[in-house]
Amino acid sequence: MRELLPLSLLGAVVGLDVVCFPQMMYSRPLVAATLAGAFVGDAMRGMLVGVVLELIAIATLPFGASRYPEWGSAAVVGGALSATLPADRAGVVTLGVLSALGTAWVGGWTLVKLRQWNARLARHRRHALDAGARGTVIGLQLAGLTGDLVRAGLLTAVAYALFFPLAARLAVHWSFSGPLSRSVVMMLATSVAASAAWVIFHSARGARWYFAGGVVAGLLLLFAR
């Protein structure tokens, strides 16, 4: 668990990117889980978790005030956990994905709490805001940014500290084979992504034919390889 502190810092920076700063999307699971995997020495295993999470994340778009899972810190937890567990265990990718999904769910709740806290701060400073106090506007912005950084760091630390020992024990007793474990997770993730793609894009004229064409192209590429 020597990696807990640096991972928490990584989770804080990545979690901040989800909403507050700078929204460059290095908080996407594909990036964050790979970074976390590389951080603990195995970028490829981090990326495997990131790919599965990215497919699932396509179904949760961060529209305005809606509640959505916080993928940044969650992907750091999942990617690092999977890359840290012994590589010869069959369920490491599955356990990484599972811990990330749990963290993402809780992370969505923490974002809601942060927004409520931001609202409370603004309410308490209503008179200063109405008077156009420059320091209040800047202070609220900095408080929100700091709060989010702390939120994401704490979430990463708590989730990793809880899930790592649990996943290590589960990995020892894991009885399904590696291919079966990956197949189940990948089947679920692919189905979530395919259904999300349909829901998001079906209103664009001809999208279903583009999707069908894409599947044919993808299968041909697979066959050619």
Partner: protein
């Protein structure tokens, strides 16, 4: 004696105020943190005030003047927009405040602009550009690209669009001021989501089988079973998507699978 020309002629538009390069840089950097104080009451309001503030320092009397304080109070009130397209509002509002546009006109403009900037941005970025770039990167992963290449491809592709949109928004907002509405009819903003939707659908078709094949790293029979199973499950998910969030369903099913694996 002739009437003075000023009484009949259309009033000349206010000259474009000018801002130092450091102010533009400050506004742009602040735009990256525009959602820092996002909350359920004023939404993006505080962020707009935060971003416009460097420009407002040019008002008569500087930061201690009455004009500055009135403008700050106005700009920090409730506002809603997509975070990237909020740059249009920031540019337009900064221009309006520095040009001395009456307060009631600025407030009406803020109210009118909020809705379109939210819906256009959501469709263009969250439901278009983001899934498209994500799926292209997943396809690259499926084709065997190394982790560093996949990550760099996604970040470069996504942020090319991201930064272009923010810069365009700030520029068009500033140059057009309160007359910015026609710019939102830009073909890219109007037709972009549909084009991106088709491109993303094609990218999804390519990416899903390729990514599945690389993660599984098994034979063709295993991949066939997974893809057929995924196709059936996705039909089911489309039917129930209003009632259950897919990621929660995935979490529950994977947790059950893990329990079964350990308890067996």
């Amino acid at each position: 004696m002739t009437a003075p020309a000023i009484s009949t002629a259309t009033p000349a538009p206010a000259p474009t105020p000018s801002l130092p390069a450091t102010t533009w840089l400050s506004i742009f950097l602040r735009l990256l943190a525009i959602q820092g104080a996002w909350n359920y009451e004023t939404l993006l309001g505080n962020g707009i005030g935060f971003c416009v503030e460097p420009a407002l320092r040019q008002l008569p009397g500087g930061v201690h003047g009455a004009a500055f304080k009135e403008a700050m109070a106005r700009e920090s009130a409730y506002f809603n927009a997509h975070p990237y397209l909020a740059s249009v509002a920031v540019g337009a509002l900064a221009r309006a405040e520095l040009s001395g546009v009456p307060a009631d006109r600025i407030e009406r403009f803020r109210t009118a602009l909020a809705g379109p900037l939210g819906s256009v941005g959501d469709r263009l970025v969250w439901a278009g550009w983001l899934p498209f770039t994500s799926l292209v990167s997943l396809a690259a992963f499926g084709l065997g690209a190394r982790p560093l290449v996949v990550v760099c491809l996604f970040l470069a592709l996504y942020n090319a669009g991201h930064f272009a949109l923010r810069i365009w928004g700030l520029r068009v907002g500033w140059t057009r001021g309160l007359a910015v509405a026609p710019a939102l009819g830009n073909p890219l903003l109007r037709g972009g989501p549909a084009h991106l939707g088709r491109a993303a659908a094609a990218a999804a078709g390519v990416a899903l089988p390729l990514a599945a094949a690389r993660v599984l790293a098994g034979g063709p029979s295993l991949l066939t079973i997974v893809l057929l199973g995924a196709a059936l499950l996705s039909v089911l998910l489309v039917r129930v998507h209003v009632r259950v969030e897919a990621y929660k369903l995935a979490l529950i099913l994977i947790a059950l699978f893990a329990l079964l694996s350990v308890a067996r």
